[in-house]
């Protein structure tokens, strides 16, 4: 690898999140990783809770994970029909990085490759220019679907 210069903290002037989903056929799980800017998430949680969460710091509150989970459940829905009930998601863990923080979640669902729908409103209450990208992989097939303020409910598959 050519290394130009490695330093820097990361400033972003754009509002973006990425959800990567991979269907594990053996376990019947849609294994998902949500990549989101932690400062944006803190702002969003600040609007719905009075708790100081200090996300991503040494002082991070014990309530942080449950608040994040509640926020994701509220703003990210996955279903097998357009008006269907949102699938339950299970919190698996998180991984801090210097830019987008990764939150690991599982959707337990026996998927036969039929239609899947998503409603992704993550952080859209904060930013008009928020864009959320969902990447879904099923075997060798993959798909990218973009969600924004005007269009936050789409067929994924």
């Amino acid at each position: 690898m050519i290394l130009l210069i490695v330093i820097s903290f990361f400033l972003h002037d754009f509002h973006f999140s990425r959800l990567e989903m991979n269907y594990n056929e053996d376990e019947k799980i849609l294994e998902s990783t949500l990549h989101v800017f932690i400062d944006d998430l803190e702002l969003a949680l600040g609007q719905i809770t009075t708790d100081s969460l200090f996300l991503g710091t040494k002082k991070e509150s014990n309530l942080a994970d449950s608040r994040i989970q509640e926020y994701i459940i509220e703003h990210l829905h996955l279903s097998n029909s357009e008006q269907g009930d949102p699938m339950n998601l299970t919190w698996v863990g998180k991984e801090q990085s210097d830019d987008l923080t990764a939150y690991y979640i599982h959707f337990y669902y026996e998927w036969d490759g039929s239609a899947l729908y998503a409603k992704d409103r993550l952080l859209m209450e904060l930013f008009d220019d928020q864009k959320n990208l969902i990447y879904l992989k099923n075997g060798s097939n993959e798909k990218h679907v973009l969600f924004n303020h005007r269009d936050n409910q789409k067929q994924l598959w």
Binding site: M1, L4, S8, D13, F14, R18, E20, H35
Partner: protein, 188 residues
């Protein structure tokens, strides 16, 4: 095709986003000295710039290069400052190999500026579609902006709103002020 369009949309929106105005400010300084009738000069300069940032975009997208966002952002602001200064002090604008070369190098630097965004949008899947689509979107956004500026300059000339020289000085002064501010903000 919908995959490709998704990344075209991301690239086009990113270049035309007012918060990322440094790229379009540089394009403005590039296009400002020319009239609508000198479209060949505009085309050649914009192509040199495009070629430059397309190369670095692909290198970054392939993951072989890691760049410092801080230094790149400062360098981008410097490219705008230099172009604006050139516009301010020059009386005649003649294109030569030196100008093309410098524009190409500035393009390489601006391409590095997309690193953080590319890093965010590219996940663990295949890189070809995202990279090609994003690059194509950036070019499309640039084309839209350059066409709009050309049209504006044509109208200004046609309606006699500004003398061409005055228009160039206004653009250079605005670009100088904004790029100086960017440099100071990004250094501190």
């Amino acid at each position: 095709l919908s995959e490709f369009l998704t990344f075209i949309e991301l690239g086009c929106d990113h270049i035309l986003d007012w918060k990322g105005y440094d790229h379009i400010l540089f394009l403005l300084t590039l296009v400002a000295p020319f009239t609508f009738r000198q479209w060949r000069s505009i085309l050649i300069l914009v192509t040199a710039f495009t070629l430059g940032h397309a190369i670095t975009l692909f290198i970054i997208g392939s993951g072989y290069v890691i760049v410092s966002t801080d230094w790149v952002e400062i360098a981008i602001a410097c490219t705008i400052f230099i172009s604006a200064l050139y516009l301010l002090v020059k009386r005649e604008f003649k294109l030569n190999a030196g100008i093309y070369g410098l524009t190409f190098i500035f393009g390489l630097i601006h391409g590095l500026g997309f690193a953080s965004y590319l890093k965010a949008i590219m996940g663990s899947g295949s890189i070809l579609t995202p990279l090609l689509g994003f690059n194509f979107g950036v070019e499309l956004g640039q084309l839209i902006f350059v066409a709009a500026v050309c049209l504006l300059q044509y109208l200004i000339e046609y309606l006699g709103l500004f003398h061409k020289g005055a228009w160039i000085k206004i653009i250079s002064a605005v670009a100088l002020v904004l790029s100086s501010q960017m440099i100071l903000e990004r250094i501190s």
